[in-house]
């Protein structure tokens, strides 16, 4: 039951002639200069900016790739 419905019940009771209950304050949990922590909840991992590869890295990958292709070709040549 939220604070607002509580308040409504209280005012209703007061109108019905019952014991006037103290008015409940509604206090916001966050504002401009303050914030109150709620319950703990699970955290998601943040989105990931992918780092760009440096030219050196791209070149090394290229050289590796070329060497691998060459080795495969030579192995094939040796087989046949």
């Amino acid at each position: 039951m939220g604070p607002e419905t509580n308040q409504e019940n209280d005012t209703e009771r007061a109108r019905d002639g019952g014991a006037p209950a103290a008015l409940q304050e509604v206090l916001p949990k966050t504002g401009l200069v303050f914030s109150e922590r709620g319950n703990l909840s699970e955290i998601l991992c943040k989105p990931k900016i992918l780092p760009l590869k440096s030219a050196t890295l791209l070149r090394m990958e290229d050289l590796d790739q070329k060497a691998r292709e060459l080795a495969q070709m030579q192995a094939k040549g040796a087989m046949s």
Partner: protein, 523 residues
Amino acid sequence: MASPAFLAMSRFRRRRYEECVDLCSEILAENPYDKAIWLLKTQALTAMTFIDDSDLEELGIADAVMDDNATASMPRPGTSLNGDNASGKGSSLDRVMRPMSNAGRPNSGFVRPSTQNGMRPGTGETPGSRAALESAMRKTGSSRPGTSRPVTALGRHVRLGTASMRAESDGPFIDVSRMDLQKYAHRPTLARALCEFLLYHDHNARKALELAAEATSACNFEDWFWKSRLGKCYYLLGLYRDAEQQFKSSLRTQQSVDTFLDLGKVYLRLDQPQNALDAYAQALEAFPGSTAVLTAKARTYEMMRDGDQSLRAFKDVLRHDPSHVEAIASLGAHYFYSDQPEIALRFYRRLLEITQSTESASGSARSYASTELWNNVALCCFHSGQYDMTMRCFENALASADDSNMADVWFNVGHVGVSLGDLGFAYQCFKVAVSIDPQHVEAYNNLGVLEVRKGNQEDAAADFAQARSAGSFAYEPCFNGALLAYKRGDFPTSLRLAEASRVLFSDHPETLELVEMLRAKLV
């Protein structure tokens, strides 16, 4: 019909190295003693396999584990590259905002050979210990099979050397073992080309060292070039103190940007970043506005996790070279993680413009306009509210993605799903991400969170456990696991996981709160 020698030189100048080498081989077949052509062929072969070595090399597994070069085992704060996780607080490298890469360092905007697999074992792990070995093995690539990290840094050089020798069909062009290096040492022009060939083509540091030692004594130890090459050879062989002496001596004779950068590399290997920064400061006095030095400075601050200084240095780089890719990418990542995606978007859009213009000019297939860049543009678009562009950019990213980065892109797409509230879509994206990379820590963690929201606590616990076993750099799976165990009443497990989370991120307020709650329950 032009003279073949002239044609070969022209091809060399136009960077058509393969054609140049072919032509040189033909000329040399006719006249094997043509020194000019021999020199040209040597230079062309060197240029074909040249790799920019002004930045630190990737550390091999053995280097990372057996690394006892660090001068101080318990360095004072701010004097070592092995900063603890708490440092970087308040800057954009703060862990609250910036995720960790699997190398265990803050995610940066740019990846270089030395940063792709992590530098050294974490702090507190003694070199050679079992824990250090395990952490080094875990940091091998993204722990996926097939990414081959060499055992030592020299190992990669040997591998590249073998590869370039294999590429020559009719045996090696220069057989160094049969050469009289002393004779060459007295012919400065040939010796220099030969030394570069040994370093960059054969990657044979020992022979290069022999040659450089002969040559430097032949010119009475007065030539800065030979001293700096001696230093380079010592550095490659792991003799850092000798390398430092040679570089310093070379700088006394003649100051040069390359030598300063090499000296800085030596200090970084010795884990003395302050000395490296001093060397860069000297270099900037001699060569004000050199972007290479400024970049090295920025990288060093980044490695020390000093986000603000690194940012300042990268801005300085951009002031001198407005199309410096590394600086733009790093600044883009910084602004994204400091909650200014609109500005980050402007940086990444600039990169796209640069790469597209250079791509059409050079026609090269590989460039920076890649999966990574499109992914970053998409993320910036989404977070700055340009929703219409987001999915199209992600589509572009996925179109060019390969196994190494596709999982990360799907992970980010899943994030967009979560932010839109389309949890079914997000769930599917994370599932795709883990199907591509079964070791994707972040995707498993987010899957777990979605399972918790659905009420499947068992599945969630399994996902968090999987995320923890896949990588130990993220605190989120530990904290989430702890929270879940707490809610289920399993306080001892919860405390264990919360402590693990606190080790990874000591200032995380929610972890500290959970630990306090658990202490109250258990004690």
